[in-house]
């Protein structure tokens, strides 16, 4: 079973490595969305510090949604998804592996880029550390919950926008606690409470989403 999981993850990583253009698009989307805000709002450091955590987090949500619409779509189009569903291995492992691979491919780069964006928003070093920590806990949630939405909207017309409608409301707790952690660090009240709640939310999504996504995938493929 573990081997099946690892195979799914390795396959997705390999596919992403062969298609670097797709991968880079999502990262640059993240950087560009974040960079638009200082241009639109003005470059007052106090203002930027106030909106920075929220802007980075919202951009992370949007960037993950952008790549999530393709999570199952490519495999669905060439028929390999059906073959994987026919395999005797549990579908839960497939959806879990897909979500983990999505996080490795699209989540981890955000963690690396985020400190640079934090500097752009005049965040102090401690706050940047908390921002990276909150994204490290929070981005797996985005991949896990997003896999449910990707499975539900598989092959539908206007799937990308629909995915946004379905999944953004479910992302709200992650956004509140993630950006809230950085705000708390900026206010000097300590970010542990927010990060703990975020971690609790991660555990909950890990326990629920792969199963729901597997059920949704079965519904969509039938």
């Amino acid at each position: 079973m573990l081997r099946f999981l690892l195979t799914v993850i390795r396959r997705d990583l390999l596919l992403a490595a062969r298609r670097r253009g797709d991968w880079l698009t999502s990262q640059f989307f993240f950087v560009m969305v974040v960079s638009m805000f200082p241009l639109g709002i003005g470059s007052e450091p106090a203002v930027l510090r106030m909106i920075g955590p929220g802007v980075v987090w919202v951009a992370a949500l949007l960037a993950s949604l952008l790549s999530l619409s393709r999570l199952f779509a490519d495999d669905h189009r060439d028929g390999s998804l059906e073959q994987m569903l026919l395999s005797p291995e549990p579908t839960v492992l497939l959806t879990l592996g897909k979500a983990v691979a999505h996080w490795l491919i699209y989540g981890i780069p955000l963690l690396v880029i985020a400190p640079v964006l934090g500097i752009q928003f005049a965040l102090p070093a401690e706050a940047i550390l908390v921002l990276v920590a909150s994204l490290a806990i929070g981005t797996p949630i985005l991949s896990l919950l997003g896999s449910v939405g990707a499975a539900l909207t598989l092959g539908l017309r206007g799937g990308g926008v629909l995915l946004t409608l379905l999944i953004l409301p479910l992302y709200v707790p992650a956004l509140i606690f993630g950006a809230g952690a950085v705000d708390a660090a900026l206010a000097g009240t300590g970010a542990e409470a927010h990060l703990s709640l975020l971690a609790a939310f991660l555990v909950m999504s890990l326990l629920v989403s792969p199963w729901v996504a597997a059920a949704a995938l079965r519904v969509s493929i039938e």
């Binding site: 539900l152 799937g159 409608l165 409301p169 729901v212 949704a216 969509s220 039938e222």
Partner: protein, 243 residues
């Protein structure tokens, strides 16, 4: 005579039952609304803290209750439908969603009308307001998913799964005034008693029943349409349509 649940789980028999029930609930909703509004506007005393503006609760509170409750009912029918593959359950879930979204929207709208004189703001990002807004988004998302899927069975099941995932939001709304120190006031009606004047409470409960009756009537009308649409290939529907 035992009430046979399985008998009415069949769309053909439920169609007739719903048709007989609708006038009762529709008239009940109309009469109860008139009584409730009369109590609310003419009999209930002016609140000593909130003045006349508090009277919006006669619509706001029942609408907010129904917005949450209808979501729970939808989740219930979705779970039943997924577990037992009963056709009628999915139709009930689909029939309830627009009414639930309507009540959630009314709750938000009347809340804004009340918030302006009380808090000095149409909207604040308070935990209860935010979670109710998310409830509205969930309704919209579920209805959008149904609208996007042409295949009926796939749409039913996908919508049911999404409904069940979103159900975690309902307790968050309900307990938000206890968990967080919010601007929105806490519940006035508790199992241990109420902090409201009796006539105010009576008006609100009558309005709550009116909202219940309206929701049931609207859902039944919609479910009858859905039954006709989905069973149009059957003989009994053809017989109805021809007569």
């Amino acid at each position: 005579m035992a009430f046979n649940l399985y008998y009415y789980a069949s769309p053909a028999t439920f169609y007739g039952l719903a048709g007989r029930l609708i006038p009762w609930f529709a008239w009940g909703a109309g009469i109860l609304t008139l009584i409730g509004l009369y109590i609310g506007f003419f009999m209930a005393p002016t609140d000593f803290q909130q003045g006349e503006a508090y009277r919006v609760i006669f619509i706001h509170v029942p609408a907010a209750w129904m917005g949450m409750f209808i979501y729970l009912v939808m989740a219930f029918w979705s779970a039943i439908g997924l577990a037992f593959k009963t056709r009628l359950s999915f139709m009930m879930a689909r029939a309830l969603a627009p009414t639930g979204a309507l009540f959630t929207f009314i709750a938000l709208w009347t809340g804004a009308l009340w918030g302006k004189p009380m808090w000095g703001a149409w909207w604040v990002w308070d935990a209860r307001l935010t979670s109710t807004l998310i409830l509205l988004f969930l309704y919209v998302g579920i209805m959008a998913l149904w609208a996007a899927i042409d295949d009926r069975q796939r749409g039913d099941k996908a919508g049911a799964l999404l409904t069940l995932v979103g159900v975690v939001n309902v307790p968050i709304i309900y307990f938000s005034v206890q968990w967080w120190n919010t601007l929105h006031q806490g519940a006035s009606i508790k199992p241990s008693g109420t902090s409201m004047d009796e006539i105010m409470l009576a008006g609100m409960l009558v309005m709550a029943f009116a909202a219940w009756f309206y929701a049931i009537a609207a859902a039944l009308v919609r479910v009858r349409t859905l039954i006709l649409e989905r069973e149009r290939h059957t003989d009994w529907v053809k017989a109805i349509l021809e007569s």
